[in-house]
């Protein structure tokens, strides 16, 4: 055998070895739900600390709360969960919950009012990022012993003033309202952390699933809790695997190795629409995309200019082209599906009207800077706006930067305009009304960076009392009417050009039923899924 033949034979064998046909399993088991998702945003599983999307998905399935949403019908609003009923005091400041009897934690410990008391107090005392959802009701580490109290199988919470009951209960459906198994958590307490370090990576809940393992950037494994009071879920095991790339998720879905693909881009969604064995599942999410006009700018602060800018955006053109089903036109600060959300979208691209408004305002040769974070969809939106604004005679200079660079300048009121996105923190209209339409002190020194209105330097003194009234209105219908009114005034006068609301599109195997991503108000729920 010659040198060439010897070498060729060796190389051929090596190649053959590399590509040996090995059969791969092509179907997931009937009692297992396998999900591909980007889970690299999970920083903690502790309900008092978790504040990211993928982490909320885990908590939604691991913990029960006093009140929660029905994953099969979110339009019902909050419904009883661990609290089977509640009563509101005459002054409207106290709510007394009666705990459901016979409910067990995954550890086997009974769920008691003391566990609920400890969980809420703990969230306030630890004061992690999402704590504001509770502390906005006047709870402080110093007063929780008095304001959050258990007595027998009843838990009473007392707020600092009268709030709409729906506001308080909606907030308790957030992750931070989860009821934790106090005995288990405290058995793992280190240095007085109330079990925080342990709960960051372990679970102690009474929800339909228990956490088996969370491997950061790798996977989350959940095991069905047979003793769940609502009935053991059909999917005995749920595995969420971190798959960052959309094309990889699509391949896995089409091959039948996963049941759900959570992060498909528009091209891959279009690609699977006609594929056999898979379907597209869409839900409206709470994320809004908006343009903000800095009101410390002498020209942008003119009411006519603010109005003109709302006619300079090609809403339909973007929705029907590069946003391609990922966003829908929405021009109100309350996302659709939220209590009181308006579906009025009065603005459309109208260059002539924009020109007329600018002329009426005496504006010529306007040149402005817009800050945009370096994300493809945002840059494309900014470019579209740059193009249509130029048609109206406004020169727009786009500054692209990292999230921190743009955010820092936005919060310092340094940008003429910002292209930003905003997602609600909890499922109550106050979450957005309290930041878009509320700004208690517009002075720069006040540094109210948590209020979007402050960031734009917009004095909301006319809307402030309306927002404050809406948050305390006990009658649900009246409250809805109040938010409708605030949204109308906001649309007409605000320096926010709200453009789009996000639609989340997931790819599912066609045998997956009752899967929900939680719509705009909650997180993904696996408890009702069947295959």
């Amino acid at each position: 055998m010659t040198l060439w033949n010897k070498t060729l034979a060796g190389a051929t064998m090596a190649v053959a070895l590399s590509f040996t046909s090995i059969a791969v399993v092509a179907e997931t088991p009937a009692n297992m739900l396998v999900i591909a998702n980007r889970i690299d945003d999970i920083t903690s599983i502790d309900p008092a600390q978790s504040f990211e999307f993928a982490g909320s998905d885990v908590n939604q399935n691991v913990y029960s709360k006093l009140v929660n949403f029905d994953p099969l019908d979110f339009s019902k609003g909050y419904v009883p969960d661990l609290a089977e009923s509640w009563e509101v005091s005459e002054d409207g400041k106290s709510i007394t919950f009666t705990m459901r009897e016979g409910v067990m934690f995954q550890s086997g410990n009974p769920v008691t009012a003391q566990d609920a008391e400890w969980s809420l107090r703990r969230a306030v005392i630890l004061n992690k990022t999402p704590a504001f959802i509770l502390t906005q009701f006047g709870f402080t580490p110093e007063n929780v012993a008095e304001t959050i109290k258990a007595d027998g199988n009843k838990l009473t919470i007392t707020t600092d003033k009268r709030y709409a009951t729906s506001f308080v209960l909606n907030c308790l459906t957030a992750t931070i309202g989860s009821v934790i198994d106090m005995k288990t958590a405290m058995a793992n307490e280190v240095d007085g952390d109330m079990g925080n370090a342990w709960l960051n990576i372990n679970s102690a809940g009474s929800g339909p699933y228990s956490l088996v393992a969370w491997k950061p950037n790798e996977s989350v494994t959940l095991q069905a809790f047979p003793g769940y009071y609502g009935g053991a879920p059909a999917m005995e095991r749920v595995i969420v695997r971190h798959v960052a790339e959309s094309a990889s998720q699509r391949l896995l879905l089409e091959a039948g190795d996963i049941d759900v693909a959570r992060n498909l881009n528009p091209e891959d969604i279009a690609g699977i629409r006609d594929a056999s064995g898979v379907k597209v599942h869409e839900e409206l999410k709470g994320r809004l995309m908006y343009l903000g006009l800095n009101q410390t700018h002498p020209i942008l602060s003119k009411p006519l200019v603010r109005e003109a800018f709302k006619y300079m955006v090609d809403y339909e053109g973007m929705q029907n082209s590069f946003l391609n089903g990922q966003y829908t036109i929405h021009q109100n600060f309350l996302p659709a599906t939220y209590l009181g959300a308006s579906d009025e979208n009065p603005f459309s691209l109208n260059i002539e009207k924009a020109k007329a408004l600018l002329k009426e305002a005496g504006v010529e040769n306007l040149e402005i800077e817009i800050g945009v974070r370096e994300a493809q969809e945002r840059i494309e939106i900014a470019q579209s706006f740059q193009n249509t604004a130029a048609q109206a005679g406004v020169k727009v200079n786009i500054t692209v930067g990292t999230g921190k660079q743009i955010l820092d300048r936005y919060r310092a009121r340094e940008l003429d305009m910002s292209l930003e996105a905003w997602g609600p923190d909890y499922p109550d209209p106050q979450t957005n009304a309290g930041t878009f339409a509320y700004n208690p002190d517009n002075a720069f020194e006040a540094q109210g960076t948590g209020y979007l209105a402050w960031r734009l330097g917009w004095d909301t003194s006319e809307l402030n009392p309306l927002t404050e009234a809406a948050v305390t209105e006990v009658d649900r219908d009246k409250r809805i009417a109040m938010y409708q009114d605030i949204q109308q005034k906001f649309r007409d006068t605000s320096p926010f050009v709200i453009m789009f609301q996000q639609i989340e599109q997931n790819g599912l195997r066609d045998n997956v039923m009752n899967f929900t991503m939680g719509e705009a108000i909650s997180a993904a729920d696996y408890s009702k899924v069947t295959k």
């Binding site: 190389a11 090596a14 059969a23 990022t129 990576i201 094309a247 990292t402």
Partner: protein, 352 residues
């Protein structure tokens, strides 16, 4: 005449054995290099336009929450003090806690590095097994169609985006043909079936004698490893060809041929023997490159390795994780260089 006078003064100390001085020099070199690496990485981490506090608390946090975390991270201390604390911790093997997932960075690295080690080792194995023979043949048959094919193979390997090749590979061999496993280290049903001893699933499944898991794990690793191996192959084959051409034009090769030695012996026992030291350098560099973590390969194949770990940490402003990962990669580079030096001494008596 005293003894002292005889020897001309105080008795001089015997010089240290060469192996001791050599070892000390090596340790000193490692220490200086590591310190430099830690310093540069630390400085880069401080000048980057990302805010680790904001990454933890979120942009909606109150000022009091922000300030509390700022102090907790020790960012109020002078940078030099922060650096010295960090060096002290690293010397004790403590890379700190991940700012985002609140786990020890050392634990995270111990989890992700074996995945990369396994992938890179198989990849460089493919690169050597295919690349070295290809380079030798291309040199022996310089200008022939074999050489031209080798050149095209290398060119494609250098120029094709790994992202595209990876997706195409997945589409064809996983999506269409079903020959290999999809993204991930094993199919989901096989996860957790073998005890985690080394962190390398091929090795762990062999240790556990679980051949089903081994087979499944191999079906998952073969494609990304082949892809990485292809890039190694491109580099190794071109360098091998170049080294061989130099040797084949030397006079001792002509002499060997004149003496009637077989072509096999001329090529493999004489020419190839003399390029081994150079090849070691090439292979070591190639291996080190793969061990750094092939980020794109890891992303496409959902491979939880150190490349994607560092990248995710960087994008999340988790500087403890970035620093820890970078230090480990740097250490691996240094160790590979030392290993290559040792191999020089084995193969080349002049280096001893």
């Amino acid at each position: 005449m005293s003894d002292a006078e005889t020897t001309g003064g105080a008795p001089s100390r015997a010089p240290l054995p060469r192996w001791i001085t050599g070892t000390l020099k090596t340790i000193g070199s490692i220490a200086v290099t590591m310190l430099g690496l830690v310093f540069i990485t630390f400085v880069i981490g401080r000048v980057m336009p990302i805010d680790p506090v904001l990454a933890i608390v979120g942009e909606r946090a109150s000022k009091s929450t922000y300030d509390a975390v700022y102090l907790q991270l020790g960012l109020d201390k002078p940078v030099i003090v922060q650096f010295l604390y960090y060096v002290w911790d690293v010397m004790r093997g403590d890379f700190g806690m991940s700012l985002l997932n609140a786990r020890p960075v050392a634990e995270d690295i111990a989890r992700v590095f074996p995945a990369t080690l396994e992938l890179a080792t198989l990849g460089v194995f493919f690169g050597i097994v295919l690349g070295v023979p290809l380079g030798v043949i291309a040199a022996v048959r310089k200008g022939s169609w074999v050489d031209q094919i080798a050149r095209v193979v290398a060119l494609v390997g250098y120029s094709m985006p790994i992202f595209w090749l990876g997706l195409m590979g997945l589409l064809i061999f996983y999506g269409k043909l079903g020959w290999v496993g999809g993204p991930g280290r094993v199919s989901i049903f096989y996860e957790g079936l073998v005890p985690n001893v080394t962190g390398m699933i091929l090795v762990d499944s062999i240790l556990d004698r679980n051949w089903m898991v081994l087979k499944n794990a191999f079906s998952h690793i073969v494609l990304p490893a082949s892809l990485l191996g292809y890039y190694s192959l491109a580099y190794i084959s071109r360098m091998t060809r170049s080294f061989m051409l130099e040797q084949l034009s030397a006079e001792y090769i002509t002499t060997a041929r004149v003496k009637g030695m077989s072509e096999w012996d001329v090529v493999w026992k004489h020419a190839f023997r003399n390029i081994r030291v150079q090849l070691i350098t090439v292979i070591a560099l190639s291996y080190a490159g793969l061990l750094e973590g092939s980020v794109l390969t890891e992303i496409i194949f959902s491979w939880p390795g150190i490349g994607s770990y560092i990248t995710t940490a960087l994008l999340s402003a988790d500087m403890n994780a970035v620093l820890g990962g970078t230090v480990v990669v740097g250490l691996v580079f240094i160790l590979l260089n030392i290993f290559a030096d040792l191999l020089y001494k084995v193969f080349d008596p002049r280096a001893r």
